[in-house]
Symmetry: C5
Subunit: 370 residues, 5 copies
């Protein structure tokens, strides 16, 4: 699971410091805008392309439930249309432009703003987090994405079909359906994170962890980013569920409760995964410690046995003229016996300390420590 430099996951684009309230700047690298309107009622669905403010207002006030589905901020015209033609509050428009807002619900009368954060898999299997902004009016929902994302495709299919539940309900149900799609979009990422964690667990409790700490760090970073986003998302859903000023009618709230439930479930899984990752870190560090112990023990045993033996050899390698032992018939044999006795004595001492049993068991039972 690749992720971009960590801080980038959290740095958010914001208005220039000290700018007047409601100011926004469309980033230079904004994707071109593409706006579609889905106008639907039970059984049929009309799909239009929106090219100017008038078409936008016409679609919103069509009478049928309208989903104005915009992707890309382009040159920012959309934002001016929203503010000046559709009457969206300037602060709401600024929140759409200055992406990186936390998920929230803002009550602006008949043009409520809902901000959500979608998490998707990047082209190179990393995690991308994108702001999803919804303007919910009496009969329309305007959704604005920074760049085209696949997460709304299933909703588009259902809307086009004309037969799905969404076609028989109002704009509030459409808003719910979009939020639900955002929340459900976290599950594939969690599945992938779960697989990475299982792989890591096998590697760590197995013999040869390679690059483990870095991979653990990457997963923890991803989980951290997902947690932050989903935590706020759950709170925003809870607010919409409970508070009075939201556009959601009583029957739709039953569904919204379901989306809230999914958000809680996602958070639960993320938290479990984070605890797992912390546990794995501990096991990994412990295995590193054990490996070190094993290495040191080998060095110590070998050194401690041979250093005294070499010393004995060194003594009899001295060139003194008067070294009686060197002339004895069995001097050499005696020296070898002395060395053997020292070696055996040390081996016995090691065994009593329990150091020798270790490497032996290390091949079978002890293997689970590494």
């Amino acid at each position: 699971m690749h992720v971009a430099g960590t801080a980038e996951l959290f740095v958010r684009r914001t208005a220039p410091v000290g700018a007047k309230p409601g100011a926004f700047e469309v980033p230079a690298d904004a994707q071109p805008t593409r706006i579609r309107a889905f106008l639907f009622e039970a059984g049929r669905c009309e799909e239009r392309h929106i090219r100017d403010a008038d078409e936008l207002v016409a679609a919103a006030n069509d009478g049928r439930v309208a989903w104005i589905d915009a992707e890309g901020l382009g040159d920012g015209s959309l934002l001016y249309w929203l503010r000046d033609a559709l009457g969206v509050h300037p602060l709401a428009v600024a929140d759409i432009a200055n992406t990186g807002q936390r998920p929230k619900f803002e009550d602006y009368g008949e043009r409520d703003l809902i901000v959500a954060q979608a998490a998707t898999l990047d082209d190179d299997a990393g995690v991308a987090i994108d702001q999803v902004s919804l303007i919910v009016g009496p009969t329309f929902v305007v959704s604005v994405l920074e760049r085209p994302l696949a997460i709304f495709d299933p909703v588009r299919e259902r809307v086009r079909s004309g037969t799905a539940l969404v076609c028989r309900m109002g704009a509030d149900f459409l808003a719910y359906a979009l939020l639900d799609a955002v929340v459900d979009g976290f599950f594939p990422l969690l599945e992938q994170a779960g697989e990475v964690l299982n792989d890591l667990e096998e590697d760590i409790t197995g013999r040869r962890p390679v690059g483990t700490m870095r991979r653990l760090h990457a997963v923890r970073r991803t989980l951290l980013a997902l947690h932050r986003v989903m935590y706020r998302q759950r709170d925003a859903l809870g607010t919409m569920l409970r508070s009075e000023g939201t556009p959601f009618s009583e029957p739709v709230r039953v569904y919204l409760r379901d989306a809230h439930d999914h958000a809680v479930q996602v958070l639960d899984i993320i938290e479990s995964y984070r605890d797992m990752a912390i546990g794995l870190t501990d096991v990994y560090l412990s295995s590193v410690s054990n490996r070190m112990n094993e290495i040191m023990q080998t060095l110590t045993i070998v050194s401690t046995i041979f250093i005294p033996l070499s010393f004995i050899a060194g003594v009899y390698g001295m060139n003194f003229e008067h070294m009686p032992e060197t002339r004895w018939r069995y001097g050499y044999a005696g020296a070898l016996v002395l060395m053997a006795a020292v070696a055996v004595g040390l081996l016995l001492w090691f065994r009593r300390r329990g150091w020798l049993g270790r490497p032996g068991t290390g091949d079978d039972a002890g293997g689970d420590e590494r």
Copy 2:
């Protein structure tokens, strides 16, 4: 205590992403469905097998208190019967099918949904967590298990006897009795975890920990999973206890309070065990450190004594023609005396630093460090 790959304990089956609300998929490996109905009143109990939607509805509306006891999702017919014949809300049915829901109470009028999570010992002594779904109506309870579990056997016995308290009370008491069985099912697992922890404690404070970290990790993982489940369970029980829309009458709430109490007790024990496991991890890591210290100390003492001695021997092993000492009568003896003096000096220095006393006490008093 064996547990499956950790992430598997938390990965939950969920509806396909972007699916329409209320959608569910019966997993391909679902167990065959087996549905029994217990119709009881004080003194007697009738037991039936349910084979189609009509029999289901007949049992539910029999007038007597009915427990419809279903095991296995099979081909999903049960789910359609519940939705279409018994009038259970589609979202509730989806929650039954998409197992892995958090424990919760959902008020859907006269077909309330209660989701609980049962923890049981697996065939190979691991921990399995299964969703228990209850639909509570005015005179009936439908319980759905993913696969046959033993936890409801005692309740079945009591219902069949016709004399137990449950036979004299309503459907709400039956729902309580099933929830109580789920909560009480955690105690045997905790007992086992307690034994594992006590064993680990003995191993760690004893001499030879083998595979300790891995076993600690496994216990912590299990406790983590149990904690997550029971935490939500306690909250759900608390909600049912306090809120107005639940099917529980005042006299049954006294009993429900007792189940809530047991849930709190289970959580308490789990938390204590987790703290214990963390404490043991610390003691274990400290013992690894101490062991390392001891090894290094041995190596250092032996090396530091013999390296200078070997150097002296090396000096007198040089082949210079003009080495006056080698010709002295007592040169050899002098060299040996010099070596002994160096060795004794170093030993005294070690003793003053307190390094030599250590291994000596290490056999008795110091033993409690390992």
Copy 3:
């Protein structure tokens, strides 16, 4: 401070799994029952032994304030008398029998249940935690202990004296007095734990910690157990203080507030001690690290100086026929000078790195690191 196997501090006796609500089992090793009744009014106190259900009911309904003081569950008769003759709720009786309940207050009309947990010093200076169950009626209090404990002795003295405040107040004051005795019973244990911590602190910041980690672990375990118990106790006292359904009259609540205060104070001390223990663990681990560093430094200095010297000696110990140096008149002296130069050079390098200053200061200022 000795404590039993940790898990045992938390494992609690509970009803068999799946048993019907209100079921209980008297443990096989229950202590024989001994029941005394103290019937008192201002100035005098009558003391009776209770041998059957009738005597129990007579004492409870005597008109005077009655303290029925039971120790030991024996064959369980007491429990049946309470349930069947005195009208205590079956769930309350089950909570008395299945000890290990968390401290709590349960409102059952005129037979309220209060569960507390007493902590006492064991025979072998360990900590024992025992359940104290109180049934509070309009004019009587039944107290049930699993086994005889000394904590109620001061209250018995005061009751017998006939002059204490408790003799002039109602059953609610008596219940308060018993709870107060339970809470105050924690102070001697805390005093002991404080002494152990002070000893540990001296040992750790002193020179020779022995068995430190294990002793720290034992204290932390004890503090953990006390914290769990007292945490719930404080909550239960807070509930009794604030809620309406409790048997405590307004004047007695002033006293109950005092007991609550003591509970908060106990918790405060426990938390401070836990923080202290964690701090000591850190200091201890750091001292282990420092010791390791010191050992490694010694080894490194000695090895790094002598290994090159030995190499030089080894070179001149080679047996080549054509080694010009060996024939030089001052070859031997030159070799010795070379060795001395190498040694001095290395010593200077060590001093520049600051490694040599260390052991020197280690005897005075550095001593506080070990």
Copy 4:
């Protein structure tokens, strides 16, 4: 990112101990005072310099919205003017003088006090935290800064222009605009901290971390300081948003909510960064451990192979007269073969333990561990 000594970030100037309430002392090194008044209405703005108490009161009571913009405490005259001429509560004046107050809102009738903390980049790229005090009256705002700061420059520009929104609103909007400037001033600091963290991440997962721990410590310290300040700021904004006694009218509260939102966003980013920094610390420590392991392994392999070989050489270097092997024709060759056999045996043993594969992979795959 340079920061001053950590404690200095938190030490605050306060009134002398035991001083009477409302006492203050102007610090000896206070900056000279400079007071400007901006009197504005839609379209035009008058700017005056304030030199005495009368001019201050005249500006405040001018009728137009007045921003009295003071920088530097000077000789404290301003404080006396505020207290004695403008009727600001003595405690509020003391809070202005004794900087280091936590961000807060204090309701003193028509002279409310708002304290905020501005974070700015120091001259030497460190973080400076300055108190911003606002006195909000019906038609004026007095802002007091300890020293000239650039954060209010954009607001001054907007006020002077006469066309900005702020010129058409009341004093409450002006107060909001100043608070908003303070909150937005945190973003450039966060951007910088994010860059530092990204650099650190690259360094740590790359090959050669230098000074890493110290730089991590510096970032964490800065984040800690920013978190403390912003945490209180968010709470103060939340209080102003919700409570009744604040000077903010309903339309301005919509904007204040936006500022509160930005504060939450800043906190979010800080918390993410702190988690990141903790994660990086773990990765760094693990890489240090791995490096140590690698070093020890190299030492152990080399030592363990050559120590026995040297011993063999030592044996045949002994000077016994009767060493049969030394006279054998192939003794030398035999000894070399023996040595080679020992070396190969040890290498095979190392390979079986998996120690030899490591350094090889260490150059490519293992490189991500360091």
Copy 5:
């Protein structure tokens, strides 16, 4: 900053276990009592010495605002006078005697009890925590200190002056003034702790930390003790600020809010310091690890280079008769060249691994790691 044995900071004197409610024991080492009464109104102040219960009551009921300022518990007479002559509740008197109560406000009608904890610098620069008990009546405040403390001296000065604000207000303002003096008494301690932390920071990031861990531990211990005390103090002040039954009139509450604010500020600083201390611990431990790494690296490089060289020397030091190389004319030179080649090869290998660059940079850039 010297502190007493840690546990002593938390152990509190309490009533004997099982004692009747309201019981107290005057400690044997109590300081002699000294009681002064300050009777004041605007402009003048009368000061009396109180020697018996009658004088106490006369002062309290004088009509003027009376501050009865008692230091030392002596033989306990004061406590009996308070209880029996002034009508203070027995539980309140017990709380005064059994010092170590947590800071709190207790409503006993017209004789309210306020308990605070004062922190002061000890004679030997350690921290002492003393209970300050206030009995607040309609026109008097009785303050009881265990031993003479300087913290009330500024208040005494202000009272004696007759011109301070305190002389124009009621008993509630006097109580506030005393509480304010207690809270402000924490600032000098925090200043000292800040200096200690700054010193430690310099030592740790500098070259030679000595006794660091112990000093860190001492500061953390002190901060822990101060935090516990101030945490409760803030809560008690918050309670007095908000609740109805307190003796504080509305105008005085504005001042009390200020004291509460100071308490929050103290807590804030303490928490920041604790975080700093934790951060410093991490940096310190990391520097210890780095030092160890550096030592091991030196040892490894030296050993790994010289061990093979010594082996070669050892081979040519063997005494076989048939060693052709020893007879070669350039055998010796060849051996030296071989050794040089091995040494250079190893050096190159170390450089490629990056081990050699380290110690070189360690003198300049790497210095910030230690």
